[in-house]
Symmetry: C2
Subunit: 297 residues, 2 copies
Amino acid sequence: MSTKIGFIGLGIMGRPMAQNLMRAGHKLWVHGRRPTTMESLVMEGAQGCGSAAEVAAHADVIFVMVSDTPDVEQVIFGAGGVIERARAGQVVVDMSTISPVETRRFAHDLAAKGVEMLDAPVSGGEVGAVNATLSIMVGGKEESFQRVKPLFDCLGKNIVHVGAHGAGQVAKACNQIVVGVTIEAVSEALSFARRNNVDPAKVREALMGGFAGSKILEVHGKRMLDHDFKPGFKVKLHQKDLRIVMETAHTLGMFLPGAALVAQQLNALIGLGDAELDSAAIVKNVEKLCGLDTPRS
Amino acid sequence: MSTKIGFIGLGIMGRPMAQNLMRAGHKLWVHGRRPTTMESLVMEGAQGCGSAAEVAAHADVIFVMVSDTPDVEQVIFGAGGVIERARAGQVVVDMSTISPVETRRFAHDLAAKGVEMLDAPVSGGEVGAVNATLSIMVGGKEESFQRVKPLFDCLGKNIVHVGAHGAGQVAKACNQIVVGVTIEAVSEALSFARRNNVDPAKVREALMGGFAGSKILEVHGKRMLDHDFKPGFKVKLHQKDLRIVMETAHTLGMFLPGAALVAQQLNALIGLGDAELDSAAIVKNVEKLCGLDTPRS
């Protein structure tokens, strides 16, 4: 059955996701802050809208895919935002990666208007968005999740309803902690090998099948060996996600020394001009301070 | 073809390994510091020896499986050690996990007597030793490796010749860095979930298939959820291995902040009386400092 869908935020992730929903036969109202981002979607039959409010006037399920917590607040609650034309029975599905704490507040404020919210951040990057193979971590009411599930199926594959409002963002934060700290682990191990004049490729091979084995050792470990830091997932985005983690740790009072270390590594990379590299570039910092800063030949 | 094999160090790991070599049809001369450890092997047909030197008088390939760097030095170079009866053409195969720096020195000193050395630390624990499924990381000359390879095949499955003398110990050190830092990663993520009132089991499930996926998330993550810290691999052994890593970092001048953090976590566990637990118990420290120290019901 065709659903009236709104899609706000048409960047590298949002545009192909909107396209996948449209190609599944749904009617779309779209809005991007830069009007040019709407053009290709309008040519495929979407209705371009001048504001998030205009999207809300037409759609029953409204997806949001923007950069950060203030952007989500702006498109939902700011001037010309969803809230101006929201009505009971709608669902706002925020697929951005933002603060779990603020997410709970947004869900609460939308509920006051009878509007349901799901937080549904993704992992899998641009490739996952284009190929509809995203992992989607969802927080919110079971009823809302069931209602939106057929639409999630147009966007991704591993779709888990983690828990109540904010639980999707919490799972995404956990994902970014594990990915970041495991990158640090592999960076230190491969640098340890090099500094001891042992071939890091051989070490990676020896470690792959055992308890040290991970997707990061496999994929990011290979990038480190080749010094190939084409993203992938950019340092500046990983930094943003770990800022959310550390802000949450600050708010709730938590001890996360590994995550804090990775946040500092990402800060340093940005200071050194490497914001656009893949976050596997953390190995560059470790190599520099292990006397290994010349690239391997 | 039957080889005359010596085996020194008959603890939890060494004894089943010696047994597997004997059951493959080889003649064994064995020595353990505690004479009782020899009894069952002697009943199966091994020759019990009063010293490491006596082992060296008979065997062509001499395995050593003891606890730490000074123990290896003692059984090879100490009073009654291998060196007293060593002769050209023998190979000493040290399967203990010890310092890569000292390993190179031992290999050099043995070579002065015409004795070859291989460093061949293992991972896989007692289960791997019993079932002959150990991963074996080998350093030393290719010729020695090829000579001992049929014997390694009696002990393990994933057998990698990593490089020159010490390279096996370097690979093992890398393994222990990655395992330790990944345990920290998973500990922080699951504690982050709990502290945000999100089911950590659901989060583990959501993370498993993606970039956060690892053997540690699978195995140790499950132990953390269940608070089941029966080893596995003991805190006190992991602490010893990270001491070797940090000593090497000190000697060579290396920046390994993740490994240093894990070394501190293990120190704290030992101070708190948890030396005999599996090193997944690192999560207990994180939970304590996240206000989560009551066990989950």
